[in-house]
Symmetry: C2
Subunit: 328 residues, 2 copies
Amino acid sequence: MDEFSFIRSIQPKFYRQSSVIKGISDDAAVIRPVDGDFVTAVDTMVEGVHFTRETMEPEHIGWRVLAANLSDLAAMGSTPRFYMVSITVPRCWSEKELQSVYRGMKQLADKYAVDLIGGDTVAGKELSLTVTVIGSVAKDKARYRSHAQSGDLLFVTGTLGDSRGGLEYLLSGQAACSKAHDYLIRRHRTPEPRITTASSLSSLQRIALNDVSDGIASEANEIAEASQVEVIINHEAVPYSEALSTCYPDHYQAWMFSGGEDFELLGTVPEKDWPTVEKTAESAGVRVTKIGYVQNMRSPSPCVWLDKDGRRERLAASGYTHLKEEGE
Amino acid sequence: MDEFSFIRSIQPKFYRQSSVIKGISDDAAVIRPVDGDFVTAVDTMVEGVHFTRETMEPEHIGWRVLAANLSDLAAMGSTPRFYMVSITVPRCWSEKELQSVYRGMKQLADKYAVDLIGGDTVAGKELSLTVTVIGSVAKDKARYRSHAQSGDLLFVTGTLGDSRGGLEYLLSGQAACSKAHDYLIRRHRTPEPRITTASSLSSLQRIALNDVSDGIASEANEIAEASQVEVIINHEAVPYSEALSTCYPDHYQAWMFSGGEDFELLGTVPEKDWPTVEKTAESAGVRVTKIGYVQNMRSPSPCVWLDKDGRRERLAASGYTHLKEEGE
């Protein structure tokens, strides 16, 4: 593969963001700040660890790695602007397949007018994609996981565990034979980061946000620790899709908490702001569900509690409850 | 290895850049723009491709990957501010060795007050480091390789080919037994990006810059193509170290042009600005040498010519002259 012709083939013909002063074509990209702060994150996905060719087409790999990154920006309440892609390519990947990976990223990027402004292409033994994203947010309006306070409502967008359901189905090697399976597979391969919902909540004075990459058990514990609070989750309220509970009746409850990679948003807001959250999500066509609340600010032992069947148990970051871990 | 304890171990205790609003601890970092533009680049280095454990200690690997990135920022005339590191780690690397890799980066970063503000840590089969750097530059003062014009002088910082000399010596497996070898090895393992020199030239209205990552034959061709000019290099003027010519009398002339990874700067300036370049480099303690000039703006066939022994030959990006390629 000729690196230069490959770079030319994936280079954008134009940039949508007027703040791109210099895109791909020099030692680095140049961007002009507008009002507000910049938000930036980087994520790597490696073949055999984060995805396999058995469960993903090249386009899905591209979509998904960018989705994971854009989800981080959404969790900061920021609007994505630019991305850079560093790809490590083993000999067994063809130029056509690589172009499909970039096309997958571009399909998602185009939805939000995000521009590819740089990257690197190197040889290696395993396919690996590192994506750097840069977004913008109004000054002092970045949303931290440390912003939860006593009395806040806990909410989550979408439904949970679907991505894991889709993955398990793909790993089973069966052909998708129902709409439910198609839905779960789509949720796994081409997740939708909740960018519009998050950035549309910019009018709220305070909101804590985390994106669901490792499962809400983990994300809720991160909020609890960062905010020094206790988070209570009402098991009955946690949203799951009918597709998931139908296809995986024995597993969906565990996957709702620890399935991960749904790239939904878990957040907390003051009770008075809940109608705004509901209205904003509705406008974006995104389901949003109240699943608990926050208590005990400045808690000496920040943690997550799960209310289920009239009992309260500690929910570990791994998704297991404290009591279950001790053998109950 | 516990990912969270590792991240804690490499997390900065404080940030030097006052524009860091949120460093490592949330879904993304938040930075506040000051005056001017942002410049950003990303580079990946893979074990077995860009470095080996035989020729590099973990600290050198860290230093070198960050140096390559900071060199890209220098070539844009920008001052580095932040970096993010995504690392893919095979099981055979210990946590202690990884910390050494980060220490190597930190040693270089500390010299220029560059802050580590984010990253990712994932498992994989081969060690791979992807570094994203962000710098700042005065508005419209980024230095492009497309800025060369007829009549400009061509110059280069430092000496060329040393990194290749160091690499060859390390690959030979011999113990370093002379100051010359020590020097070449140091130039290979811990190159100094020309940040101070580049950013100190901000008073100049126009300067074209490229950093020497693939050798000046390649970089000069990039300037020629991007600026649509012809670049003439005077072979006799190209600077090399005594260490290199002494240790590798049969190779140094080729390596000067195509050795690569010296991370020096190749640039062009109007003749009237040459004294400023000389003075600036002197203040930074960096050697700078006039090695040619630019002619034929809007050339229909932009290229690089090498003047040697009274003859003019075309210099290909690979470092070979056109005539030599045809068998001379």
